[in-house]
Symmetry: C2
Subunit: 344 residues, 2 copies
Amino acid sequence: MPEHPACTKTPNPLDEFGVISRFFTDRSFYPSAWPSQGAGDDCAFLDVGPMRLAVTADMMALGSHFLENASPYTVGRKALAVNLSDLAAAGSEPKAFFLSISLPRIDENWLEGFSRGLLEEARRFNCPLRGGDTVKSFAKPGQSPYTAISITAMGELPAGKGLTRAGARVGEDIWVSGTPGDAFAALGQIFGYWTFAEPLLGYFRSRMDLPEPRVALGRGLLNTATACCDISDGLIGDLKHILERSGVSARLFWPAFPESDAMKQLPEAVQQRCVLSGGDDYELLFTAPADRRDEILRIAERADTRVSRIGEVLSAGEPLQVIDEKGSDVNCAASFNHFGEVGS
Amino acid sequence: MPEHPACTKTPNPLDEFGVISRFFTDRSFYPSAWPSQGAGDDCAFLDVGPMRLAVTADMMALGSHFLENASPYTVGRKALAVNLSDLAAAGSEPKAFFLSISLPRIDENWLEGFSRGLLEEARRFNCPLRGGDTVKSFAKPGQSPYTAISITAMGELPAGKGLTRAGARVGEDIWVSGTPGDAFAALGQIFGYWTFAEPLLGYFRSRMDLPEPRVALGRGLLNTATACCDISDGLIGDLKHILERSGVSARLFWPAFPESDAMKQLPEAVQQRCVLSGGDDYELLFTAPADRRDEILRIAERADTRVSRIGEVLSAGEPLQVIDEKGSDVNCAASFNHFGEVGS
């Protein structure tokens, strides 16, 4: 989930992925551990006896991932939704989650709303809360304490199966679900990048506050897609991870991008900023062979989820391009990165 | 892990367990979810196909669970150790963990020490880091950002097996590993409750900073102990959880309590405060039938871990007692509770 840009003013050569690769990548041999595919995907796969688990973990803070005045119900629902989106990107079936929460105080109203949103989302996706930790936040005198929420969610996969960011092959189609960019349109208004009035604002805010994890779509794509991720860090940014992990490049066709009616009312430069590099969307981006197009449309229909074919996979030597109807380059703003700068 | 008392000045009728029971207990039916035993133990058990997993989650913050100037190596080692201790209390074999961390900035020295401690502990217990999340902490202007660490650790159990806090029966023995109280002796000096000089301080600090998760002992006890937990919240406090969950009471014999040579040098009132209700110890407290005493001593010897028989399980109608050699009551200070008051 992208953070408020106030948190990211200082560019640093070590971004989130740099930190993971430099400090948290352990190439030791663990003799009896459950086998896993290694870092770089929305979920880790764990081969547990004859079963495969998909596991994802997210840390979120009020004031950073959530506005400080966000409704606690929204915070609860979205905190779980973003983890379910990672399970969806792996093609797995959500099965259980764990919640660790650090609170400044016992605010019963806040806890009532938060737990209601969280447990509603849990029931919607049949993914029960199975444990966790509740602690009190620390603050020095004169400082305000924080609320931090950490969720680890677990899903099930058939043995040996699971969608990752590796697997895209030259010539395949690139697809995206839903209408990306809507959440960032709301975020951009909050950040002061642009303004718009109701009813646009209400629509964009609801898309930012209540993302729909694409669980049914992800599970449907398990035997069809060759690579998959969600686009929580922005469509281009997350596409780049697929391309790197798969050793390929891509060309996207801007006119083929799906847009909400609300998005179509914004200036085209804002549309491109939101859709291509916005972030905070929990849509699935995936690749598949061209001969699976009809099958994908059937899977999407069964999942009641719109999908759009937006580009093609090229060989690694080609530049990553987004082109318009005339074949000219569309400028891609840098995608969001937790420890980098927010493009604008 | 207990927190600095500065965090817990305001007593609140809703403590950590109250919050869990009131807000985070969902009695809905989840048709396809993995079966689990419900809340109240160090780990949740998940029956995943023919396998059983034990899962635990802990949230920790610098300045609260760790001193702000704690060595990053120590923070890394202990952050994982306290989770491994929960897996040990379930009798499970550690298999994988997930780390979510919220950092104020990329401090390479801190990250180097933290990740070294963390991954050393991972290797010691053959429990690899399999994924997680790295985010930047939010702070308002003029406020200092925080470091919060959330770990979810997973272990394996034989199908249908696993130690919980339920299962203690009247007439059984009560045992504890190691020499409880040492960690709290150090914490009490930091809190200003008492003072002592080297070499005591160094010994107590090392016991606080580098707890030894009793993984081999817990696994050895899987088919022998009837109830088990770690005593991270204090021996009496955690014993009470066993008693409540098992529907029994207990009598403890103060002269039978194991104590380190360092602990024996403190005034007896301080010893009782540290040993009985201190917290931040990662020893196992467990119950077992009296006819398993020899077996338990053999298991402990194989695990290279001292165990001591400190009491007996009584029927629920009896009061919980700690008695001295004359049969008189030893005063038990209230055990630590995250949202309650620290006893003193």
